[in-house]
Subunit: 355 residues, 2 copies
DNA sequence: CTGAAAGCGCTTACAG
DNA sequence: CTGAAAGCGCTTACAG
């Protein structure tokens, strides 16, 4: 892989054409006030010489790096690809680059990650905060992607309403004993989703919540969740706060010989990469990540512009309104009508249902 | 979220202390030749004033941005989190930032992505190329992460040997009719893995390869792979080139009432996020992504240093040796001894095996 | 329509 | 041990 130093700059172009660097700069930036013919000649020479503007020179002069930071609680999080892709796309569309910073799940590293980005001169940053973390004062414009129930300027999916949709859907299917699967009690997002599910299910529905972290703490990582017991007790649906846990439930149920969706329905959240290809495919609640990213980046750019107005040590308020982006139900094969009576029949007169 | 302009620079510190900017610079960069007492005073003042060095100023002066690019074929790829996390970690350890560029699966966008990074002034970049793509001459140091069978300077896991380990493991378990699951015929990585699996399985083993892309093209996205037929034909193991396809196989088999691992073993690659938590957990072949990232970043930094030596338009050769990083088998519950006889018995005298 | 000049913040020889 | 000066490449008033 060869690499050659172009070393072409505005001066080189100016020298080649016998004009001034100011004129070259103006011509290339299309700021007008250069004759069309000269612009054409300058453009041609620039491309012949393989001119690539120096981002450092421009950044130093303008005070803007053209780079946005993306702070993530944990890149290993299965939802991260969607977020990163959407933010990168939104940023590129706006002419910005994206610098990533991973706090690898540790709260302490979140501050480090933010500081690294500031040292690299980002113009602003999108932060997906660690559960429950409040972002302290950051010395540059910030947009937060989190749950709407988090205080502060955030853009988020309407997790509660997404949960409500899941609950209503399951209720409409006839389910009235539902197991809810959460991971961690401290997560705003998860609590919103679960609250919404209970809400949508209605008061008539019996509900039990299992916290995966708590179960694993007691029984070890990757242990069974004991869902077959739930089915034995008459639960007919399992609603998880993430497709990862929905998948876990699906495979555990299948392994225990419980058919999904005939004997138990399973729902998840986020439409993760595997959700459409498992058998049966997972019914899930999807966020419009593209829209969330667009809103976050828009808010950020407005804040950056506003910030530029106050060069004299004044604080600029980033006033992104709290946005709730609607979620959408993706109905797939892992959910079906409640068949509790049939299950009961099977249990009492075993074999009757099989040919 | 308030944000204040620090506007503190070397001059401000120098002025506050009545010394020169050169001294402040030397003191802060620890280049010596400043008296310890002065260094201390300068440090103190700098931190009091909230001094953050200007990356633009430094970059302009030194010609180095301190930023590495990471070009990805598709952020949505399930392996991406591991790669991104490892590269980010390696880069941060080396004092670099990471700018991401996603080519969203389109080959044409790979060049765009690379150019965007060059325009942002990265010192070098790590490229995970799209299947079969050759990276053309890029005007900055490049390290490629791909299959070792790709020509050019690459660092990669030893996919072939990983496959061989899987094959030997399955053979040792007694499997002699194995279905291989690939996605795309053009992928070097997949062909290496599959070749290795066949190699490890040995000549005595009957092997059949299913290409998911081809099946989906015929039967639609997310369709069944028809694996139950394979079991009926006497195949007892399914070895996939990725955990994603292994998961697909696992759930399809489960859904068809075939027990894993009792009646069929399933193996994957990459130890994706879900692999440890499904039931049964997936046996998989894991890369040491941390090591791969370290090697890639190391090679890149050497290339960057070498490059600095040739400022006069000369081409510098990036001579990262081709490195093959070993892979490691993670044995979990989705694989077991071949029980073909038992399966045969079950098929002929149905019901005999169930209580 | 074009150009000379200043200056963004930093580092690095060089001189003292 | 400390400082004056140059210059990295760019953009932007300002003058002509």
């Amino acid at each position: 892989m060869a690499s050659s130093r172009p070393a072409t700059n505005l001066s080189a172009i100016a020298a080649a054409l016998g004009v001034s660097v100011a004129t070259v700069s103006n011509a290339l930036s299309g700021k007008g006030r250069v004759s069309p013919e000269l612009v054409e000649r300058i453009r041609k020479t620039a491309s012949e010489l393989g001119y690539v503007p120096s981002s450092a020179g421009r950044a130093l002069r303008t005070g803007k790096s053209g780079v946005l930071g993306l702070v993530l609680p944990d890149i290993a999080n299965p939802l991260f690809p969607q977020i990163a892709q959407a933010i990168e796309k939104a940023a590129v569309n706006a002419g910005y680059g994206v610098l990533i910073a991973d706090s690898r799940g540790e709260i302490a590293m979140q501050t480090d990650a933010i500081n690294r980005l500031i040292e690299r001169g980002v113009d602003g940053m999108v932060i997906v905060p660690r559960r429950g973390t409040r972002i302290g004062d950051v010395d540059c414009p910030v947009a937060v992607i989190d749950s709407p129930s988090t205080p502060g300027n955030t853009v988020a999916a309407d997790h509660w309403d997404g949960g409500r949709q899941v609950g209503e859907y399951l209720a409409a299917l006839g389910h009235n004993k539902v197991v809810l699967l959460g991971k961690n009690r401290d997560s705003n997002v998860q609590n919103d989703r679960l609250g919404g599910i209970r809400d949508g299910l209605g008061k008539a529905c019996v509900t039990e919540t299992l916290w995966v972290d708590a179960i694993e703490k007691a029984d070890g990582a990757g242990c069974r969740l004991g869902l077959a017991d739930g089915v034995a007790e008459g639960f007919t649906a399992f609603a998880a706060v993430s497709d990862l846990h929905a998948l876990r439930a699906l495979t555990e149920l299948q392994r225990e010989g419980i058919e999904v969706p005939e004997e138990a329905s399973v729902t998840g959240f986020d439409d993760l990469i595997f959700s459409a290809v498992v058998t049966p495919p997972l019914t899930t609640m999807r966020m419009d990540m593209g829209r969330i990213a667009d809103l976050a980046v828009d808010a950020l750019l407005r804040a950056i512009d506003a910030d530029s107005g106050f060069e004299n040590g004044l604080a600029a308020e980033v006033t992104a309104e709290i946005s709730k982006v609607p979620m959408a139900l993706v109905m797939r094969g892992s959910t079906g009508k409640k068949k509790h009576d049939a299950i009961e029949a099977k249990k009492t007169t075993a074999g009757e249902l099989t040919p």
